[in-house]
């Protein structure tokens, strides 16, 4: 999938016109709230004094909130799939 990185390497699912596109499989299956709680520092870029060797992914906000959002997303997705089968 394509994600978009702002100047602080925070991930976004849509480009506001000032972001950098980045292809990754790290967020496959993840909802928007989860993705946008992460930073992605591509290989060779510098962040916080660290030069990323390999793409680096880490949450910039409370990971428990992101996990809760992902759990809710998966619950809704399962419910939708059940409804589709029923119909």
């Amino acid at each position: 999938m394509i994600i978009y990185l702002d100047k602080d390497f925070k991930c976004h699912v849509a480009d506001d016109g000032n972001m950098t596109a980045h292809e990754t499989e790290f967020f496959n299956g993840k909802c928007r709230a989860y993705i946008e709680g992460f930073r992605c520092v591509p290989h060779g870029e510098s962040f916080n004094g660290i030069i990323a060797v390999g793409d680096m992914y880490f949450p910039w906000t409370d990971i428990s909130i992101l996990k809760a959002a992902q759990a809710e997303y998966e619950e809704m997705k399962s419910a939708l799939e059940v409804m589709e089968v029923t119909i």
Binding site: F26, I50, V53, M56, Y57, F58, P59, I63, L66
Partner: protein, 293 residues
């Protein structure tokens, strides 16, 4: 100078508490506070008319020394037991190291990276070091007279080094392809229509505490594969939800993972593999050393 079993000059009407010290035969007892100092070689040693506050009681016998802080608020009875144990510590050179039990601190100007603390009584002693930025400490239980304990302080928490998996810290590693003096090797699975990932991970979950990054020295990380699906095979190192994808090269490299907001997690090394476009492809990685910093 007040001697044991003597009354204070001026008679028994002197105000203040009485300290009685029993000790092995031949001991010399000295008490001191705020520049005052009194000694006795008569046993038990009795010191009368003491002002309230903290007195230091020292006993010596044949090269042994016992020291104790005694809070005087009323008459007090003390018994000397000679005790000595040694805590040998290695620590990052240039750091300040100390050994402490409660308010009793043993300091040193030795910053060489190796020091021996001689502790005067049993109990839990905390040895700590700092370089002004990082701090490391560990507690040591001292129970026996003559006991010697060796500890190592480091600003790093090493989780893997060659064949050493630090099981007392990690709980052991599982899921790897092989382990030897060159490190832990993980190789993705192939030969199936479905992608198959091989993951080595620690049994224990870690709290990051003051650590901010996970680092690894790796090699042999060049994927085996080509074509449209080559980017499906990759290796990564992770701490909980945070992960870093390892660049594809067989050369030795140091990989750093910023932990971000992740507070706890298992440490894992993953290599993917699969069968794409009728071609077996797999990622691989050898981790020589892995640590939290």
């Amino acid at each position: 100078m007040i001697y044991g079993n003597a009354l204070m000059p001026g008679g028994s009407g002197k105000a203040g508490a009485t300290l009685t010290v029993s000790a092995p035969l031949g001991s010399v007892i000295t008490i001191s506070k705020d520049g005052e100092s009194y000694s006795s070689s008569l046993l038990p040693a009795v010191f009368k008319g003491l002002s309230s506050g903290t007195w230091t009681r020292t006993a010596t016998l044949n090269g042994q020394t016992s020291e104790k802080f005694i809070q005087i608020v009323a008459d007090y009875v003390d018994t000397v037991e000679y005790f000595a144990a040694t805590i040998n510590v290695t620590f990052p050179a240039g750091s300040i190291v100390e050994c402490r039990q409660g308010d009793y601190v043993i300091a040193t100007t030795n910053t060489s990276g190796q020091h021996s603390f001689h502790v005067p009584y049993p109990g839990t002693w905390t040895v700590s070091c700092t370089d002004g930025t990082d701090t490391a400490e560990t507690s040591v239980e001292i129970t026996e007279n003559g006991q010697t304990v060796s500890i190592a302080l480091s600003y790093q928490l090493v989780l893997l080094d060659g064949a050493n998996t630090f099981d007392d810290v990690t709980g052991g590693w599982s899921g790897y392809s092989s382990l030897d003096e060159n490190g832990l090797y993980v190789q993705g699975q192939t030969g199936s229509a479905l992608a198959s990932t091989k993951t080595a991970r620690t049994a224990n979950t870690f709290e990051r505490g003051s650590y901010t990054v996970l680092k690894a020295i790796v090699s042999d990380a060049d994927d085996v594969g080509w074509g449209n699906y080559e980017d499906r095979v990759y290796s990564q190192i992770s701490f909980g939800e945070a992960a870093v994808i390892v660049p594809e090269t067989n050369d030795e490299q140091t990989v750093t993972l910023e932990l971000g907001s992740v507070q706890s997690g298992q440490v894992a090394i993953t290599a993917t593999g699969g069968y794409y476009d009728a071609v077996n492809m797999y990622a691989k990685i050898r981790v020589k050393k892995l640590w939290l910093e």
